[in-house]
Assembly symmetry: C2
Homo-oligomer: 417 residues x 2
């Protein structure tokens, strides 16, 4: 829809049609399997319109018919459901020492999840483009082999991403002002689907909101628990990026520490916690790869379960520092839930009681614990990038029904975030 001159009346009609297609799709996602009559009742659209929209969605292979049901008044109705087999959304994460790729179908069900080591922190952006492009091609090949069409692609980065999609500053990768989306679209030679990039914590909270155990929570904060600490903020039912897109830089929050003050990331990020609990194993300035963090987490959990006193004491101190950060988030935003992601989940038995204990000292008690562990693991940012693609479909950006068509959509590739 970008760049073409259209008759304004035709444009309006097309927009209304796209909106209604999205409405029907969302209705089936939330309430399916359901009949055309159910959709008409739920959306307020008349039955003729619904029939026409459903026919189009069936043709585009976004919906499929799934049999009839006799458990109802009147004659049996044909039930409709999302056609999970027809489409796929790709989510990628690029980090200092790994790449993640996930694929989900239209209904959000996982299709694949890959992770591989990658020296993102030491290679050039151009080299990263090459590696990510190769990964995307392999994923697309797999998707096409399954007979699916690619709805779109999102790439999560652990840094500041501008609203126009440029990676402004990604310390873990040593990137400054890298227009990664455009470079991927070039390298993919006009992929035929939208490509966007975004901040990892923002995508992770999107994933939590769509796929997590607390899906649908309107006021939700997610803290990343991989190799860095960032926050994604859901406020009043939507992701809030701030005026520059840089919201959620939780790692920089000043917190009390021995010697005065420290940044929250340096005392309570996952890497910081493993450093504090296993101090002999790591020099302070040594960057911990994801694999190294994972090894150390296993060691911490093992020692904690064995009741090792020093381990439990240090975990407790770190938990209190994390609690100071979470108390800050909760005091400011009053979220229903704060979800600790990534490897925080492994440490949850020792972290959550302390964090929720500190939150309980506030003047107004809550009925359910605010701090919880994520069940999405390390895939959360990539899953969120894929979720964003699915959201775009529900905002009206539809594929045309042909599997992985090579269409001239290079302009569409820089989709608005």
């Amino acid at each position: 829809m970008i760049g073409r001159t259209r008759d304004p009346n035709k444009a309006e009609v097309a927009d209304v049609r796209a909106t209604n297609l999205a409405l029907v799709l969302r209705c089936v996602r939330e309430q399916g399997p359901c009949s055309r009559a159910d959709i008409a009742a739920a959306t307020g659209l008349n039955k003729t319109t619904v029939s026409s929209l459903v026919s189009e969605l069936l043709r585009r292979r976004l919906l499929r018919e799934t049999g009839t049901t006799g458990n109802r008044v009147g004659r049996p109705a044909i039930m409709l459901t999302l056609d999970g087999a027809s489409c796929a959304a790709i989510g990628i994460e690029v980090n200092a020492d790994y790449l993640t790729a996930v694929v989900v179908d239209l209904a959000g069900r996982p299709v694949l999840s890959w992770r591989r080591a990658f020296p993102g922190g030491t290679v050039s952006p151009a080299r990263a483009v090459t590696a990510v492009t190769a990964l995307i091609r392999r994923v697309v090949t797999r998707i096409e082999h399954d007979g699916r069409q690619v709805l779109g692609l999102g790439v999560a980065l652990p840094g500041l991403v501008d609203p126009d999609g440029r990676a402004r500053l990604v310390p873990a990768l040593n990137w400054r002002d890298v227009d990664f989306a455009a470079e991927l679209v070039d390298a993919l030679r006009g992929p035929g689907f939208p490509v966007e990039i975004g901040n990892d914590a923002n995508y992770a909270v999107l994933a939590e909101h769509r796929f997590g155990e607390h899906a649908g929570t309107r006021d939700l904060v997610y803290l990343t628990g991989g190799t860095s600490l960032g926050a994604g903020l859901f406020v009043d039912g939507a992701l809030r990026r701030g005026h520059s897109g840089y919201s959620g830089e939780a790692g920089h929050i000043p917190v009390p520490a021995p010697g005065g003050s420290a940044h929250l990331a340096s005392v309570a990020s996952v890497p910081a916690i493993v450093r504090r609990v296993l101090p002999s194993q790591t020099r302070d300035d040594e960057h911990l790869s994801l694999a190294e963090v994972e090894l150390r987490i296993d060691e911490v959990v093992s020692r904690a379960r064995a009741g090792d006193t020093a381990t439990l004491a240090r975990l407790d101190e770190a938990a209190h520092d994390l609690a100071a950060g979470v108390l800050t988030l909760v005091s400011l935003l009053d979220p229903t839930r704060v979800v600790l992601g990534g490897y925080y989940a492994e440490l949850a038995p020792w972290l959550l009681p302390v964090v929720n204990g500190v939150l309980d000292t506030r003047a107004v008690p809550v009925e359910e614990p605010i701090a919880v562990a994520s069940s999405l693991g390390l895939d959360a940012p990539a899953l969120g990038a894929a979720a964003r693609v699915l959201d775009a479909v529900e905002e009206g950006r539809f594929p045309d029904g042909t599997p992985s068509a090579t269409r001239d959509l290079a302009v569409a590739a820089r989709a608005p975030r």
Copy 2:
């Protein structure tokens, strides 16, 4: 519209009409003086509809005609503007030792501003109801004497207010679970206009967003600078209260302090700052009334201007603690502006350079300073309560055009926040 059974078709038509009336009103507020043709062009409504809506708004005395203009192509058009003289919105603040009342007209211009001492911190809620009711009656008398109709009333409290309007916890007044709005409506014997209550910092950021020097900023944080410290959050163009309505409890943020950790309010609220700068004048546990804070602020400013070394050194330390709190807010929310309200404005020459200096140490510099001083002074919370009344009018809740009619609107008095 509450409680009455209506023909659904008529209800829909009435709702569309109310929405369009509000649209026209808002258009004139933002672009007036303007003609009917201007309104049609700006709103997309056709000219006949606009004429009809304008006639109704003229009849209700929300708009008035203001002469013609010849500076345009075609024949002179009659210009329309908000009828400032017809209406008034009342904002009240109840605090530990004072009451504030402000009145603004439909265009937001100030009509009156009163403040009087009141021992809110030591009298019962019932006594407060009596005092505030008496204040409201005096204000309404004054408004009616001017021939205006009262659009509504809001009351700002320095504490936690639930979404249904109950004052859950107001430490400064020793209130717990006080249904202040309902009690006022009772005491006023069905006032004939909506009454609501809300948190002072939330109202203050509303006032800043509508009336302040940075009006219209979509991502804005306000910090109260009276006798307590709280934050009001505007995110993506709207006030965000959090899931319980308790957002912005900035005073509880843990910050680094000598001896470990302190709450931001205890080191960097306005009363905390004056205590730190003039330690000999105040016992640590002595509650400072607004009048006492004002006296001490004057002393601090006087000494600072005279270049007193101890004063400047202590101001600088306090400024750095405030900066830690502001850095936290900015890192999390990425607002365009953080507005320091109340008496922070008097101390701005010594606070802002330090706060903005700390913010400038972040990885991505900004073009304009984020931290600024409010020009609204101590009236901000009450002004915001009045602004909320004006917002409600623009959301379709209209007065009927008769000055201070005694209408059976007791049900409407518990207006949704």
